[in-house]
């Protein structure tokens, strides 16, 4: 008996969800002005990619994909630590978190 609950979720659904998450991250990165929100968008993109990794690992019964995910999560954690530190430092220096105003590298 195959019900919705026992049936396998098709591969494409996972990939669509992954693509949707990634695209949301990209859009958020592009349109948000607050640095923290931008940062969160990056995390969203990373997790979208993670989801596709896991999906393929499951599909091909390859454990490498899972391992990649762990790596990505670890890097993301480190990045979060460093990124938040940078954000705090930027806020202290400029008293703002609006990305448009943080343009020290402009010529």
């Amino acid at each position: 008996m195959s019900s919705l609950l026992t049936q396998d979720v098709p591969l494409s659904w996972y990939l669509l969800l992954s693509a949707a998450l990634f695209s949301l991250g990209v859009v958020g990165f592009l349109i948000k002005r607050n640095l923290i929100t931008v940062f969160m968008s990056i995390e969203l993109m990373l997790n979208g990619v993670n989801l596709s990794f896991v999906t393929f690992a499951h599909q091909w019964h390859a454990v490498k994909g899972q391992i990649f995910v762990f790596f990505v999560m670890m890097v993301a954690a480190a990045e979060a630590a460093v990124g938040l530190a940078i954000i705090i430092a930027v806020f202290r220096a400029r008293a703002t978190l609006a990305v448009d105003r943080i343009d020290l590298m402009k010529l």
């Binding site: 990165f29 592009l30 990305v99 020290l104 402009k106 010529l107």
Partner: protein, 650 residues
Amino acid sequence: MNGNLYLWLIPLLPFAGFLINGILGRRLPKSLVTTVALAAPLAAFGVVLNVALGVFGVGGTATSLPWVQTCPLPWISAGTLHVNFSFALDQLSLVMLLVVTGVGFLIHVYSVGYMAQEEGYARYFSYLNLFLFFMTVLVLAANALVMFIGWEGVGLASYLLIGFWFQKKSAADAGKKAFIVNRIGDFGFLIGMFLLLANFGTLTFSEIASRLNANPGWQGGVLTVIALCLMLGAAGKSAQLPLYIWLPDAMEGPTPVSALIHAATMVTAGVYMVARTHVLFDHAPFALGVVAIIGAATALFAATMALVQNDIKRVLAYSTISQLGYMFLGCGVAAYSAAIFHLMTHAFFKALLFLAAGSVIHAIGGEQDMRKMGGLRKKLPITFWTMTAAVFAIAGFFPFAGFFSKDAILYAAFLQGTGGKALWFVGVVTALLTSFYMFRLWYMTFMGESRSPEGHPHESPWSMLGPLVILAALSVCGGWIGIERFAGFLAPAVGARVTEGGSASLEIILSIVAVLVALEGWMIADKFYRRKPERPAQWAALMPGGYRLLFNKYFVDEFYGAVVVKPLLGFSKFFLEWVVDVGILGGAAWLIGGTALLGGAILQRWQSGNLRSYAAWLAAGAAAVLLFLLVPWTAVLANLPAIHLGLAGH
């Protein structure tokens, strides 16, 4: 049979002296600088002397000439061109080596006294050693390219030493003038070398000579061109018409330099080169005639200019040009041994004249104008007597050295048909003028009343007088060896002396004529500058035009300035500087730079500092890469016409 002669030591010892004094000289104590500077030429002279003793069979290593020493490493090997760094010793180079290192050493000793108070003492001696290095390379060269190294090198040393007091603008200018005028001659030498390579495939003198000797019928043609090119080089180095103008200005250098480089050795390199390549000239009679005519013309021309100069060193400079003209005349009438003989005796008495003049200049505090000398006979007895020996030698009095060598040249010229007799006549007139201007110098400097503001002239130290005495002895005795024996010794290297159509009585008659002419020159000078000192001014007033012409050296410098230098400068200024440099080269540089600037100005807008614009470009880029990778472009392009025509469905 020949042991190792260590020929390579002869140039390398002065080179070591140059390196030591040139690099460390400023930090070494003065006595050590002197030791190094004197040891280098003395050791080189010792090596040469050892070789010479071997050649003469008196002792040392028994030697048969010619003898070639080649560097074991090949120097240039490209296609069919092979040039080795090799030295050749024969009778000709041996005589030159003895003169160069011997007189060179004496002048080094003299310089110790003369330059004692100078700022750049070590620099001076390092240059002088460098000169000896290049000069010995030039003399020892077995092929034209090695000779060219020495040739250029002595030019460099000459430039450095003329401009030794480079703070003085006239000295720096004189150095440049010497270098640039020599360039013209070097151009001729280079072209000659290229032609030699093209026609003989080798630059080695002995191979060229044997090839020519194997083809006695090969005359003129390209050989004339080669010989004329080489002669241009020789005329540049030996200050002959029309390239003599650098030598009088070269007197800006220290006096020992004038003695060594611009009288005794370097300027004779041209004569040496003609003698070295004499086989070539023997096969090009036209070029030989040109050499003779240029030599005679230079001898006369320079002697007339020497008549009215008041600077003691300039008189000697013009006299050097004139004597070099004699040597060219000797070469031109194929009396190479006589030319080399005169080269040797001239090295003795002209070096002596310059050194004695230096001693005079030294004694009266740097004054070179003869009008401010006079009466120095009692004050500077040794300088006076040595210089007297040199004056008699250059004027050609028996039995001084100049008599024998000058007569040998004039005699050889006299034997060369009608043209030769004309050249002989020019030579005799020149001898008259020579005698006159040398005794004029002698009277103005040493006789009469003192006209010097310097109250107490002092005799020079013994380091200066010693070389004077030795050179005076050589100026007296240097000719006693006689042209017969000298020519006999040189015959294997430069060919035997030609005495066809001559006789001993003719030779004696010509000698008597020459001595009488010299005596006449002395008498005129005696009248003009001792018995009737008002005469010169009267004569000058009598012929104002002629006097001005002579006094201004025929306006040759002005002529060259207007005809060569000025147009060249104008061309350089307006065409090379404004059109080529500023217009074409500068324009191209600005075009390239401007493009980069413009591109940068456009592209810099990309770097807005706006993080989101960067991210957007990043995303767009990623999308573009994806598009590129995912779309099967080849298939799409192949089907493009079909799609376009709406035929995809068929």
